[in-house]
């Protein structure tokens, strides 16, 4: 079970792993926007090739990425099929009441399919190669400008790192409580919707109380270790840009330039 909890991070040692999480997070977010620059076959080919380059650079097995796409495959297919049947224009091949299959519809469906898959692929590249902790650090860095509008970034960062640190602990706790309740006859896997929802009560109540107790203990420990509100804290863990991040920058700039050159006006 503990495989699920560490995000979907897969340890490795390739090029992508050495990049700074801030860069990876930014590029991933920007990728979602620039994918809309593609509007013809050439640009879609370019962005597909670039995505697979990124996937290849992780040196991970294809199965990891398939696992990323799999849960969303029905959504992707559904959207593509809708595009296929409801887009009109160009040459019309087939028509039945409101359903039409046209040349535009076919290309649109394929475009949407590619667009969806690539966005998922690229976000998977980030999540499998970056530890949740690093992602939290990167998010903190991206949020830093909000300091100027008085958003307490330090506290948010601490909250994020504590939340991440307690995900595996609470998960273990949940399993323990489930097993304890099972040994007293609780049944979590059978029955209808209402019966199952009721079965969750003996799991949720102790879990909730445990979390509150943990929070009290943790805050006592933090305070006695000298944590105080608003004091000037220093940081042990910092992120460093390296030469690997230049590759990433180059990758992104070349991709954007190619897309701008080849897209139809």
């Amino acid at each position: 079970m503990s495989k699920i909890l560490i995000g979907r991070y897969v340890p490795g040692n390739s090029l992508v792993y050495k990049m700074d999480p801030r860069g990876k997070l930014l590029v991933t977010i920007l990728f979602i926007f620039i994918i809309f620059l593609a509007n013809n076959w050439v640009t879609y080919a370019i962005i597909t090739i670039f995505s697979f380059l990124a996937v290849a650079a992780t040196k991970l097995k294809a199965k990891v990425f398939w696992d990323g796409v799999k849960p969303l495959i029905w959504l992707i297919l559904f959207t593509s099929v809708l595009q296929l049947f409801f887009t009109t224009g160009g040459q019309i091949y087939w028509n039945w009441i409101i359903f039409t299959i046209s040349s535009y519809g076919i290309t649109n469906a394929i475009y949407i399919f590619i667009r969806f898959t690539l966005i998922i692929l690229i976000s998977t590249v980030m999540t499998v190669t970056t530890m949740p902790l690093e992602i939290a650090d990167a998010m903190e860095w991206i949020l830093t400008p909000l300091k100027y509008v008085k958003v307490p970034i330090d506290k948010i960062a601490l909250v994020m790192s504590i939340a991440l640190r307690f995900v595996p602990t609470l998960f273990d706790e949940t399993l323990k409580i489930m097993n304890a309740q099972r040994s007293r006859g609780a049944d979590f896997n059978n029955g209808g919707l209402i019966k199952r929802a009721k079965a969750i009560t003996p799991l949720l109540v102790p879990l909730f109380i445990n979390s509150l107790e943990t929070a009290v203990d943790l805050s006592t420990a933090m305070e006695s270790r000298g944590y105080r509100d608003g004091a000037n804290r220093t940081r042990y863990r910092i992120l460093k840009w390296s030469k690997y991040d230049l590759y990433e920058l180059a990758y992104f700039i070349i991709l954007v330039l190619l897309l701008l050159v080849f897209r139809t006006k």
Partner: protein
């Protein structure tokens, strides 16, 4: 005695909100610099509350003019942070005091709070981790560590801030026997090396046996105070408070009951073995 006491507590009472009877009832005691003190008592006798009063997590009731002094500084609103710098506490549950996402982060937490520059932390943190023998786990996450290892990390976090006093608040009660002895061994070494004062709250009689001084508590009051030998020879008193006695005292008690006379001054396991061997060879 005043000068070499590192902790002085005078007339301290404490009542938790929403309760009528005080958790701590007018307690006074001293703890000597460089000593190892154990506080024993059954559940709910107020042991943990005492600790939280010492580093200002709780504030004593305002009656009988309470006074708490740590290392020459009186505990007030202004000095509470200075006092927390001098006192390091290892709590009971190893899971609930691990703040950082990795071992190194957790050890650095106390230093971060004190605004220690990063260049210094890079030196202190590995040293502290090494001192507790966790150097192979520097980047490990807490969910991959055993309870004993987490407590060792907690001790490293305390080592990093170089306190004068270490308090073990039932720190070994959730550990297996090997984890427990390892922790006690590390604390013992640290105490020797830096001349630290150790206060341990414990149910474990073997751990209490390591101490120079024992404080016995019952229902928020101080019942007895003395060195290990004195306290553990009072088998009846301890049993009436629902406490255990060391194995040697138990054997002695049983021997006395079955009519074998053993001198009063014999209390430790070694003395008892020697005495029994001698009296046996005389026959």
């Amino acid at each position: 005695m005043a000068k070499d006491s590192i902790i002085k507590i005078r007339n301290v009472s404490f009542t938790y909100p929403d309760t009528t009877s005080p958790a701590i009832n007018n307690i006074s005691f001293d703890i000597k610099r460089g000593s190892w003190t154990s506080i024993i008592g059954h559940n709910g006798s107020g042991k943990s509350t005492i600790i939280r009063l010492i580093n200002g997590l709780l504030v004593p009731d305002n009656k009988n003019s309470p006074y708490i002094e740590v290392d020459g500084t009186e505990l007030t609103d202004k000095t509470v942070w200075n006092i927390r710098d001098k006192v390091g506490i290892v709590f009971q549950n190893p899971d609930n005091q691990f703040v950082g996402a990795t071992v190194a982060d957790d050890v650095a937490f106390g230093l971060e709070n004190r605004g220690v520059p990063r260049s210094k932390m890079l030196k202190i943190v590995p040293e502290a981790i090494k001192a507790v023998g966790m150097d192979d786990y520097t980047n490990a996450e807490p969910s991959n560590l055993s309870g004993g290892q987490k407590q060792r990390v907690a001790i490293a976090g305390i080592l990093a801030i170089q306190p004068k006093i270490i308090i073990l608040d039932e720190a070994t009660s959730m550990l297996d026997p090997s984890g427990r002895s390892k922790i006690l061994q590390i604390v013992h070494q640290m105490k020797k090396k830096d001349n630290l004062t150790v206060v341990s709250i414990t149910h474990d009689i073997d751990e209490a046996n390591l101490a120079d001084q024992i404080i016995v508590m019952n229902n928020g009051g101080l019942v007895d105070q003395g060195n290990t030998k004195e306290i553990f020879s009072k088998v009846k008193l301890l049993k009436s408070l629902g406490l255990d006695v060391p194995f040697a005292s138990q054997v002695k008690e049983k021997l006395l009951q079955s009519g074998i006379s053993i001198p009063k001054e014999i209390n430790s396991e070694k003395e008892l073995i020697n005495y029994l061997c001698q009296s046996n060879s005389k026959k």
